[in-house]
């Protein structure tokens, strides 16, 4: 894989996020807010029960961060965050994830989400999709699966539920 420390990329139709080397940012709850000065901190401490239970619930991660790291010859590596929407991968410009390569079909594959798992499916492409070098028609994706479509490589990365 290429250098992960740079290159934010812009794309209109899908959420493209910057490859960050920093620790994952979390929603800022009361607990994480830094008091402005020592005085206010003392004040906070004197009224101990300030932290509300609802903050805890807001901080509970409800979804697992999932993305595809894409390496496509002649293009900058990029990261595409996956959400609820079905994404089409193909040679066409109109695809959610365009791969402008000769050996990629116009509409080649799709990645869909059922609320729990992501599945990649071949949509009648000529050259197929390969997961860890095996040609599949369809496959539920697991963390660190390497997908090959033509000469492009897509690494599926998903946060684990338990460590």
């Amino acid at each position: 894989m290429g250098d992960k420390s740079k290159k934010p990329v812009k794309r209109a139709s899908v959420r493209v996020v910057k490859r960050s080397t920093k620790a994952k940012s979390r929603p800022q709850g009361t607990i994480q807010q830094k008091p402005e000065d020592e005085q206010s901190r003392t004040k906070d401490l004197s009224s101990t029960m300030q932290i509300s239970m609802s903050d805890f619930f807001e901080d509970l991660p409800a979804e697992r961060e999932t993305h595809l790291d894409i390496t496509c010859p002649g293009r900058e590596p990029r990261r595409i965050k996956l959400g609820d929407d079905t994404l089409i991968i193909g040679r066409d410009d109109t695809c959610d994830i365009p791969l402008p390569l000769k050996n990629v079909s116009r509409n080649h594959a799709q990645v869909s989400y059922n609320g729990d798992e992501y599945t990649i499916s071949d949509i009648e492409s000529t050259n197929g999709i390969f997961i860890n070098n095996i040609r599949v028609s369809k496959c539920i994706l697991r963390n660190h699966d390497l997908i090959r479509i033509g000469e492009a490589k897509l690494l599926f990365v998903r946060e684990k539920i338990r460590g």
């Binding site: 798992e117 599945t119 071949d122 997961i131 860890n132 070098n133 095996i134 040609r135 599949v136 028609s137 369809k138 496959c139 539920i140 697991r142 963390n143 684990k160 539920i161 338990r162 460590g163």
Partner: protein
Amino acid sequence: MISKPSARAYVTFWGTRGSIPTPGNSTEKYGGNTPCVHIQHEDTDIILDAGTGIRNLGLELMQQKRKMDLHLLLSHTHWDHIQGLPFFVPAYSKETNIYIYGSPQKESFLEGILQRQMDVNYFPVDMNALQAKLIIKEIEFEALTIDAATVQWQEQVCHPGGSVRYRIEINGKKIVYATDVELDKLFSPSADSSDDNKKLKDEYNDFIKDADLLIADAQYTQEEYIAKQNWGHSSIETVLKVAHKQGVKQLALFHHDPQRSDTMIDKLWKKHSPHYALHDRPMNTFWAREGMTLAI
């Protein structure tokens, strides 16, 4: 109905684990459900074994269709191959016909075995509650025909209690399901060289020859096998050699040991697969995983 020559068979793994289900973090990738493989070709549904993986297949089928004719081929009746049946939702629907095939050696036992699994001491729901029409068939003839598919079968003696292997031929493609068999007993260099053994070897070789996909028991590594002789399962190394020699095109290693974690399988894959994939006569080798569908 005349099937289009281009119609392909789709093979989906719903359970790939041997012996006992293994849920948990370390088996998430290859899966923890016990054997169940679905072959779909046009409107034909063939199911190989009814391990715990069949539960998820049932939910998927219920979403796809209301009326079903399902053909369930059982390798044998050890727990890990039948335990999912009471949880197979289509079996509770009047709209379902399930044709169940098993070894003729079990004959009338087959129904009894499946029934006893649902005895009140083991399971809360009686087999009579299954609203589907269950048609239990012992396979008597050499081959059976299921719509466009021809199914060949053979008894496997190298497994305690025996088991059956199946070869499904559709559109000129061959898919072989041969699990729960101790090939090392026949093929390892130290195996006995009696005429009986030679016959069994020839039968196996002929059966898998040039298969487009072989789904094969590969529970142990060679080192592990030493302590597991006569337990009825094969070593990975033996299966690889035998399958490659017979010109198998794709090999799905199957019936993973309950102790085999995802990390261990990934390591085994790295160790063995490249050699066969890059060979003059390539054989694509992979460890079968739940949720994977191949077009054959």
